[in-house]
Symmetry: C3
Subunit: 347 residues, 3 copies
């Protein structure tokens, strides 16, 4: 069972070029993504109402898509506007149309009650398209339920074990994160860790324009269904970073990790790591991308193996430890929304 | 659920050579096909009654087949005639034997009540072995329920969309077929289209011994479970083709498309396209075969994709349009037979 | 459903080297095998109690294994001895530990009630590690339920059909084996065949230090769940082999065939063929191994095909013949143990 009344990412903007169509399963539903003549993203059910042929084998015609099995043509609202060999089009001849919004280079779709869709609720990822930031977009397909990925992202202890040579640091092991929970709306968790007067990690040393001790931070904001935004960086120690000042030479990163369920046992995963320095250094863009991919493959190996063990006895309980605080709160927020939708008959 | 009391095609004659055995699943049942010493086709359940070993791993011995696990030997009636190390053979030591008939180069088996099997009910495909006709036999395996293939064959509208460069023609788009239904016995549909004083399609132009306008026809006869016979061709216009005269220079084709369910979600498909001219032109035989295969692969891509979409929510209804008239009548005939068998306890 | 209160083979000793860990599914349960600092085999549930990560992706640390997802560390009893970032370890933070014993180069695990595990119950396979014998250990993975393999091993009639050129002999066909059933404890079947004043089979001729007629024997001892020990050989005729005397020039073999269910439809299979002559002849060791593998592949082809036919209608009954006497008694012993455990609530 999935949360339905929320915005889900369906694709990076570049995954839906003007001249092609993208078929993607979201929450077990076949979805077709394409752009109308104005370039606006359209999301329709990828199943012709006539005989269930997938529309992605069809043809874009202006703002519309034509099913290439028997020629039915649908407009971006999902209404059928042509049935070859038939003059009258019954009103129920239509496919489901999903509310869509394009924000910060992501195409968002609303999988629930369209009357409740408000694009203002979409969380901000401005570092995807701001001129102050630079990133390379990434996508991974996962053979695991999306909540296992959420667990992973909201847990700091695994850095030392899964990523000893990539993301892990010695000082990371002992430090407890601070967790704030905001339960307004869909809810948001803020998980922060500060390392005051600490060494720069190797990655920072390589790209920094200064030397010496730093105040470092990792500030995660997580919102259901599976939206992570991270603010991370290093500033020369004592320049006021913990109080909110970011001096110009401070190294700043913004990280994106977003999951959308494909099925109960598979997931889509979009990510990027943006920076606010050396924006034109394409080699640096690629090097940062590559190191994120390397670490994320370490996670995927573990999480897909974990899913296989869970599949043996799916309802067997897990056993909580103290470090689960962040992920438990995320699970609680997800469950709360599913229960609320279920009570309202939306689920 | 399948119709059982009818003749199903199990193989082309050449698929069961004298010296080999063929294992084929039909209607979810494992069937063994081989030839006795007289060359007559035999169809037995491909499952030894002793411990379920498949007989196709066994050995032909005269008219019999021996299971090569423990040596039980069965005659063409399915009776066990030898149990190694045991003198007495209990009468229930036998495998199911299916009524078989070989007609027009096809091996037909009866999957239902043997008492009701009458080879005279087998429909005629004389162009497979008549000296007036020439064809090359074809077989395709489908990852889709056979009824989706029947739908496709009885629908003319898809020609324009699925086969724009192979089978489709401009004049095909608008023309409504005439459908006659004969509900005697298993029922037969006759679907006819005539194009009077029309251009020849390219395929006909290439092989015709005359030039100029033609009267063209496509006359389908379809019978349950999934037997299609098509009469198609072009005659010089005004020579009486619509009234039944076929002048010697008329181009005539006979087409065969036959499906047998393998499982609920996979099918066997036998086909050919016979002609009554240039019989010795082997290059033409191959060229016609290749163009049919090309068009049939276009269908297979669409139908297997359609099956995948259906599998997501198998019982979701389809939405009829006017062009479905032919296929709806075929589905009605199939359902009527299944219900009748169910009422008689044969299903 | 499986017998649980018995010793199952989990691996040859060499499959669990000192420096590595082995993940193996036994009776549908994920099991981790490794060696402690003393070289003693340890078998733990291969599922961290925290969040179900598999421990085989973890790290051996002394006698313990550390889960490399969040760092929990377990000792050989399955008790958690470290939770990173947490001082107190609740007693239920543990994974299941299986009783283990290493005997005759095999690692045995007890999958049932640990209180009932007694290593003295493990059957003897001394030819695996005795200086009087020489063998090469083998392993096969089977896509079939283990009981189909047991059936095969306790049946002599298939030798003539499945192995006509490998294990089968002409004199084997008619001879009825003698079957003794001992129902004490888990039960044991002894199946014997003697060929008095017979020819040596080709395999024996090749390696024998004498010529002429022989008294030959095949004496199987089978115990549940799926443990076969065979004593086979040839002695110069009249030297008292049937009465128990084995003269020095007698060719003696000991054969091992052991199955452990992996799942309901897949199995592990360990085997070897030991001899008591030319112990240092490594070429002979390999040749004997190769000929066993060749014959066992003939069995696997048949049994995996048999499993596929059974899967079509899993509960369809088989039809017994006289030759099934041995395998029927084995099945009866297995069923008796499962029923007894079920009655005691151990299953």
């Amino acid at each position: 069972m999935f949360i339905r009344n929320c915005w889900y990412v369906a694709a990076w903007d570049t995954e839906v070029p003007q001249d092609a169509m993208l078929a993607r399963t979201l929450l077990n539903e076949p979805v077709l993504l394409y752009r109308d003549t104005q370039g606006r993203a359209v999301a329709l059910e990828n199943r012709c109402c006539h005989r269930a042929a997938p529309l992605h084998l069809g043809r874009k015609e202006g703002d519309c898509v034509r099913c290439m099995y028997h020629g039915l043509k649908f407009d971006p609202t999902g209404a059928c506007v042509e049935i070859p060999g038939q003059d009258k089009i019954p009103p129920k001849t239509c496919v489901k149309s999903y509310p869509v919004a394009e924000r910060n280079r992501l195409i968002w779709v609303w999988m629930g009650d369209p009357a409740k869709a408000n694009p203002d609720d979409i969380v901000d990822y401005h570092w995807h398209d701001s001129p102050q930031w630079r990133m390379k977009p990434g996508y991974i397909h996962y053979k695991a339920n999306y909540k296992l990925i959420v667990d992973n992202l909201l847990d700091f202890t695994h850095l030392a074990w899964v990523h000893p040579t990539t993301l892990g640091t010695d000082s990371a092991a002992g430090l407890k994160p601070e967790i704030e929970r905001n339960t307004d709306g869909n809810g948001t968790l803020t998980i922060s860790r500060w390392y005051i007067n600490d060494e720069m990690p190797n990655l920072h040393k390589k790209v920094a324009s200064f030397e010496g001790k730093v105040d470092r931070w990792q500030i995660y904001k997580w919102s259901p269904p599976a939206l992570l935004r991270m603010d991370a960086g290093s500033a020369p120690t004592g320049t006021g970073a913990p109080e909110g000042t970011r001096v110009p030479q401070a190294l700043q990163f913004r990280h994106t990790s977003i999951q959308t369920p494909e099925t109960e046992s598979t997931s889509h995963y979009w990510f990027c790591q943006a920076r606010n320095f050396e924006l034109e250094n394409e080699q640096m863009t690629q090097a940062i991308f590559d190191s994120v991919v390397e670490a994320f493959e370490e996670d995927r190996t573990m999480i897909e193996a974990q899913q296989k063990i869970i599949d043996l006895v799916p309802d067997r309980p897990m056993l909580p430890i103290a470090a689960d605080s962040g992920l438990n709160q995320a699970r609680w927020l997800i469950d709360r929304l599913i229960k609320a939708e279920s009570a309202q008959g939306d689920a």
